[in-house]
């Protein structure tokens, strides 16, 4: 049987950035809605902003004020917002004060007046603010709850049959969800305001919206000169998996791509974890610069350094990111205020990625990001970050994040972020002491679903960036920071050689062109024994003379397998 085509409900754009996305597309036309929340949460602003977005000359908006906020005060403050167009007031936007009817304590008269005004104006949208006034000063307060319920039912019926989209605005608490109005309403938007130490946090939740798949959870809202803005919680996206073409993104660091099996798999998230000063930011910069060289676009979110300073410093690496910023190939997002919410920060990153079509994102650093957040949001940090990373990698963007490691433990400490949960790939950096000198080493700790080198490799940061050095073969306990040169004795591979001779041979592999004196010192054996061992290795062809007569080097080994 052929399915009958559905007659879709028209959705109205609310004019509140981010709200339509949270609502599941917009506000259903002719819906009867409640905006609830405590004082100062932004209820009136939300209603007015929506009114200005929906009202037209043919279908104006009616704003009924009851006893809540005097209209003069409402107009005084709301006109500060950019959406408040005074030229439309009186024609498209009309205010009607019902305080006298409310003071008469006669809901019949209140309804009669609303009906009269609506019939006369045929508005597209009606707001009644503050509806809560009726419950406090009217029948409910004097025990006539049934009368209030009847009033709500009749009002909802009238507004719906007039083809009007409506909002009742009121202060309610969580304990009042049994109020009949919550049952009758098609949509309920709940606004919260929480003060945590010195930061104020506003959030919005769509408790219900009939006929729409709304975005669940609490969404951060911010009040600016333009009114309210909602920052939707970024929905988690299923990971797309590795790039179908197996595409790899070059890190921009010679040698590191080889360690990673050809580079970072496109669409992966990668963490560079290391102690302070280990060059994490430089890694990020080179990663972005490499992308720009390949014609890609990128976004960098910095939290610990002003962009000007960041750009100035990267110039010394021979990378002119400022030019890329000018050409709109690179966006540097600098977020420092201490009352940031995760969602608005993430939205800033997400919208920049969309606008530039960026394929590379650097977040430098997670520690700085967390510090920039209002205390309330720090609780949600890991979860929100996970959603951001999922959203970006889900569309093929490669995300590089830096994390400052703490402590000096032998095991790898990645602070509080549970990095392995967040990322596909991990590169660890650390300082090690080798022969009395502090050196930087790195290792590819993890690459999800990809082969990679397990070697530790020394690196240096020079004026031109990061340069990988030699492999640290032969050392144990590198991750402890104090590696030990441990020579393994693969005796079976050298039949006929003594333990001591194998040891000398391995040492010459690690330290080519060494003298017997140096070998004796490194191995800790008497010089006479060393000279005898070297003599026999020379005789057997394992060792040849080096640059000088008293220096030796290991030869290509005879096939002993």
């Amino acid at each position: 049987m052929a399915e009958r085509p559905r007659d879709p409900i028209e959705l109205l754009a609310t004019g509140v950035p981010g709200l339509d996305e949270v609502l599941g597309g917009g506000l259903p036309e002719y819906s009867f809605n409640l905006i609830a929340g405590g004082p100062g949460a932004g209820k009136t602003t939300l209603a007015l902003q929506t009114m200005f977005a929906i009202a037209s000359a043919e279908r104006p908006a009616l704003y009924f004020t009851l006893l809540g906020e005097p209209t003069l005060k409402l107009l005084r403050y709301q006109r500060q917002f950019s959406f408040f167009d005074a030229a439309r007031v009186g024609t498209e936007i009309r205010f009607i004060n019902l305080s006298e009817e409310v003071l008469l304590d006669d809901l019949g008269q209140v309804l009669e007046r609303i009906v009269a005004e609506v019939e006369r104006t045929t508005p597209s949208i009606v707001v009644i603010d503050s509806f809560r006034t009726l419950a406090r000063s009217g029948p409910a307060a004097s025990g006539r709850q049934f009368e209030l319920e009847q009033f709500v039912q009749r009002l909802a019926l009238h507004l719906t049959t007039w083809s009007v989209t409506s909002f009742l605005v009121g202060e309610y608490t969580d304990q009042e969800v049994r109020n009949p109005i919550f049952t009758v309403a098609d949509g309920i938007l709940w606004l919260f305001q929480a003060v945590d130490r010195n930061s104020v946090v506003r959030k919005l939740q769509v408790i219900k919206m009939r006929g729409l798949a709304t975005m669940p959870g609490l969404h951060t809202i911010r009040m600016t000169d333009d009114g309210l803005q909602v920052f939707p919680r970024i929905p988690e996206r299923p990971k797309h998996g590795a790039s179908p073409q197996g595409e790899r993104m070059s890190t921009g660091i010679a040698g590191l791509d080889d360690m990673m099996g050809g580079g970072i798999p496109a669409g992966d998230s990668i963490v560079i974890a290391g102690p302070t000063g280990s060059g994490k930011t430089t890694f990020g910069t080179q990663f972005v610069a490499e992308g720009l060289r390949s014609g890609e676009s990128a976004v960098i979110a910095v939290f610990e350094e002003h962009p000007d300073e960041y750009l100035r410093r990267t110039k010394s690496y021979g990378v002119d990111l400022a030019e890329a910023v000018r050409r709109d190939k690179l966006k540097i997002i600098y977020l420092r205020p201490l009352d940031l919410s995760v969602d608005e920060t993430l939205e800033e990153i997400r919208s920049s990625v969309r606008r530039l079509g960026a394929t590379r994102v650097v977040i430098d650093s997670l520690s700085g990001f967390e510090m920039a957040l209002a205390p309330t949001f720090r609780e949600d940090f890991r979860e929100s970050l996970y959603r951001l990373v999922s959203a970006l990698t889900g569309v093929g963007v490669t995300v590089l994040m830096t994390v400052e490691t703490v402590g000096d433990q032998g095991d790898i400490q990645f602070s509080n972020y549970q990095v392995s949960f967040l990322t596909d790939d991990i590169i660890m950096q650390r300082y090690v002491e080798i022969e009395g000198q502090l050196q930087k080493v790195l290792a590819v700790v993890k690459m999800r679903g990809s082969r990679h080198s397990r070697d530790f490799r020394a690196y240096e940061i020079t004026a031109t960036g990061i340069h990988l050095g030699e492999l640290l073969r032969g050392y144990d306990a590198i991750s402890s920071g104090i590696p030990k040169l441990e020579v393994r004795l693969p005796e079976a591979r050298f039949p006929g050689l003594t333990r001591g001779e194998v040891l000398v041979l391995e040492m010459l592999t690690l330290v080519p062109d060494a003298s017997t004196a140096e070998l004796a010192q490194r191995i800790g054996a008497p010089l006479g024994e060393l000279e005898a061992a070297v003599g026999r290795l020379l005789e057997l062809g394992y060792v040849s003379r080096g640059a000088a007569d008293d220096r030796y080097r290991a030869m290509a080994r005879p096939n002993t397998s």
């Binding site: 004020t65 005097p70 209209t71 003069l72 107009l75 005084r76 006109r79 005074a86 030229a87 007031v89 009186g90 009309r94 205010f95 009607i96 004060n97 019902l98 305080s99 006298e100 009269a116 006369r120």
Partner: protein
């Protein structure tokens, strides 16, 4: 404030629309009632009867020092009482000038609160047809 500012122009138009030719105490009192009813039906609809009454009282208080003819007038529930008696004592022209100053002050106060553009829009709003009829009916003159 310039004598030709939008506020004074609007205030003058509002008052003259009702008071033109009102040269007797009774006619002036009726014009005052019509003006108040007009404001109540238009502006009062937006800011509430109490809001308008408060605003009118404040405007009268501000204008009175410069207009001795207003000294005996009072604003009560959005109406100005004592206009006819004041016109008998001071002459209709002095009271008319005083009421014009009250309207001017009211618009100015409103402008300070909600901005001039919005204030002017609200005071010149034509009241709904039904309310206009009510307003005419409530006038005593």
């Amino acid at each position: 404030m310039s004598s030709s500012s939008p506020i004074t122009t609007t205030a003058g138009q509002l008052w003259l629309a009702e008071a033109a030719g009102a040269d007797t105490p009774e006619a002036l009192a009726a014009a005052s009632d019509r003006l108040c009813a007009q404001l109540r039906a238009g502006l009062g609809n937006w800011i509430g009867g109490d809001g308008l009454a408060t605003l009118l009282q404040r405007a009268l208080d501000r204008a009175a020092p410069a207009h001795p003819a207003l000294a005996a007038l009072t604003a009560r529930r959005g109406l100005i009482d004592g206009v006819a008696a004041a016109a008998l004592a001071h002459g209709p022209a002095a009271v008319s000038a005083g009421i014009l100053a009250v309207v001017n002050s009211l618009v100015e106060l409103l402008s300070r609160l909600i901005g001039e553009e919005l204030a002017l829009r609200l005071v010149v709003q034509h009241p709904p047809r039904r309310d206009r009829a009510d307003a005419k009916g409530s006038s005593n003159g």
